[in-house]
Symmetry: C3
Subunit: 340 residues, 3 copies
Amino acid sequence: MHARIGDLAALLGGELAGPAELAVTRIAPLESAGPDAICFLANPRYLSQLTSSLAGCVIVAPPMRDLAVARGAAIVCADPYLAFARLTQWWALRIRRPAAPGIHASAIVEPGAVVHPGASVGAMAYIGAGAQLGAGVVIGVQAHVGEYAFIGNDTQIKPRAVLAEGSRIGERGLVHSGAVIGADGFGFAPASGHWEKIEQLGTVRIGNDVEIGANTCIDRGALDDTVIEDGVKLDNQIQIGHNVRIGAHSAFAGCVGVAGSTKFGRHCTAGGAAMILGHLELVDHVHISAATIITRSIHKPGQYTGLFPFDDNASWEKNAATLKQLHTLRERLRALEKKS
Amino acid sequence: MHARIGDLAALLGGELAGPAELAVTRIAPLESAGPDAICFLANPRYLSQLTSSLAGCVIVAPPMRDLAVARGAAIVCADPYLAFARLTQWWALRIRRPAAPGIHASAIVEPGAVVHPGASVGAMAYIGAGAQLGAGVVIGVQAHVGEYAFIGNDTQIKPRAVLAEGSRIGERGLVHSGAVIGADGFGFAPASGHWEKIEQLGTVRIGNDVEIGANTCIDRGALDDTVIEDGVKLDNQIQIGHNVRIGAHSAFAGCVGVAGSTKFGRHCTAGGAAMILGHLELVDHVHISAATIITRSIHKPGQYTGLFPFDDNASWEKNAATLKQLHTLRERLRALEKKS
Amino acid sequence: MHARIGDLAALLGGELAGPAELAVTRIAPLESAGPDAICFLANPRYLSQLTSSLAGCVIVAPPMRDLAVARGAAIVCADPYLAFARLTQWWALRIRRPAAPGIHASAIVEPGAVVHPGASVGAMAYIGAGAQLGAGVVIGVQAHVGEYAFIGNDTQIKPRAVLAEGSRIGERGLVHSGAVIGADGFGFAPASGHWEKIEQLGTVRIGNDVEIGANTCIDRGALDDTVIEDGVKLDNQIQIGHNVRIGAHSAFAGCVGVAGSTKFGRHCTAGGAAMILGHLELVDHVHISAATIITRSIHKPGQYTGLFPFDDNASWEKNAATLKQLHTLRERLRALEKKS
């Protein structure tokens, strides 16, 4: 694969500073790029990498134009990070072989399933009775689509992912390997020393343009459905409990957990390993820091944090011991204040 | 599917207040129910939803009887939440198609495996040599049962779950998709700069009436077995290390981790993302709050907590900075006390 | 299976104290061993178990020799834990049936894949086009090897693990069930209210002698590769983000998360559920305690900790309430100090 930077500037809608016919053969990070690579600079923190980079061409924002041009070819774009994202998409389309439409001979498609002729069903995949697959859908090798599941146009289910019975996902979605969509929510009633199962009668409804990471789980609802709105991006190893709603265009990093019935607004984010307890409501534009535990509803947009700072082990031990006396410390301080 | 509420009252052993022939077609939450739905009210916190609900019939406790009857039909039960659980079970039995007994043509059953004629083995499932499947067992599509594994009557292994070689699970169990039972425990001996593997020679033994969530892992023991006792309920994304024992009727929410050789008593619970270190002992009726790290054995029943409260980011930053000076703060307070 | 302790002493390079012809039939923990078992004592904490154990033979360190011999047969080794590890390996080789070389009739091997005649491909496994499998490789039942993936000699991929397209793993590796190697890293550029995908064009490169736990994920790099060096051991449910590098002989316990682009040195360890934020650098021999969140780079070897101590719930509530006033407490203390 190789591309002329003139064509790339046109693709990205940027200003070309350099010879249009200069060819690049890969996209690379600034620090490891050679003359055959195109790079981007989005964060001014990495400015020093720009001047020393051997990259053939660099995508930069207008304020970096002069510095970039001083060292070689450049494409000047208003938002270099976004331009980079679009460049990776264009590149991927050209280096990846698209899945051939049709159903692999070893796949099993149950009677009553409707598979669009433009869909692709991989080897040893399973499509349950009554399932519907739209045009351009790609079902990976060994993937599982349960009965009456629905998959919108151009959505990809990667090898060995599970979309359980009745679950629905919209268009242009991407579900990574090992993800399990539509397993039972965790519901039990206590009954004289044992637990009585609450059958989970709802399902999972996922909007358009949603990406779901590897080994992430989204449970089906107890009575109503669990809902993931349009444009949501979930990283790997995430757990979404039953009857949760994630508002549109929210994005959660790896290992996040959301307990049952919690509702997120739109455009929220959660850092890695953040944990949100059940039955809470969070408004739009709430940003939760990594490893933070959310224990009550949040009514105001903003950044919320609650993580215990790490230290060398000896210092931590000293401070942690005092932690358990915090309340007493406050009492002692109050007593002193009264005296003085 | 539709049901007469007279029949439901009889099923649940409750008092019917309303016309026996009134039909409902679904179970719904109070706030979204229409006249065709039956609902329950278990938590007095949601009392206001009762009076405004359009539900055709409501399951309530005796103290709520009058309020419920004032608005329409009701079934009065001592424990409405338990009644609701039983109703979902009855309902699920009627709307779900049972798996047909027999072995799907595409499944592979190795020589020496014993599959009860009343068991069902799904498409592309694998049953290893010497495995035993009891009556009413349902092995989901693409599921994996290792050699010499044992599955008691009426246990269901969902699509794409793994029960590795030699693992045993009792009757009426439910193992969700992506769960891995019987992978190696994590054991290595340090050996001059590298790690020498300790082969995991034990297995996993799971009792009756156990539910295991999607993508949950239970490792095999190093020498003795890892043991999950009767009636235990494990949510998704849980990690149970080698040689752990979980006492009967314990229930753990999603993302919990239990490190090797820890023993839980009976009737314990753990909130989401709680983490329990290895080689500890916890007595019966220990309840661990969400996101709490248990670092020593617990000899007394009760609720245990240790999570860092979240705050808006600016407030957290201020307090977190002080955290590292806690020990010094205590010293300074002591000095002042001496002076005064 | 049974073994003469004389042979075991020779195998382990230890001194035999007892009759060489004494036979043992299993390896067991000290406290549950019978006369047919061989045990080890590595931790002096368990010394009391030695004297009361019924074990036929015990592996001990030289200082324990007399105590061990007083109760029966013993093998004296400089490092009993390491000797135990090697004994389990020797034992496992004898009780486990090796996978037969060859490709199961139900496996699918795409044209252009190169499978060494000494490799074994299990039932319903999938080998993508252009993949290469070395001698002694064992691909488990229903496992997935993507196109152009590379697997070095004697590496085992357990049932239902995924090694996605282009991923590489060296020799003598072990990848457990449900692991997903090579799913997309989590990369999106914000674009006027939605997220624009950054296609992940790198891959995953794993060295020799690496073990990867059940349901663990290692994401492919965005441009460059994600790298796991030789001898690394990863437990279950771990998340490794894109472009992470884990230095040789590091070992991470279950549920650890490492965010994108973080670089670990060699010989590092992380306790269960430790979480390491992205774009950090950690030098060799950094040891992170369980449940600790690493938020900045670490330039000095040592043990680092940051976990909130648990308490009974009532005590925790009292102290947690004071936590949010920590900064104010410090101000009040300062005011008092000025006065006094």
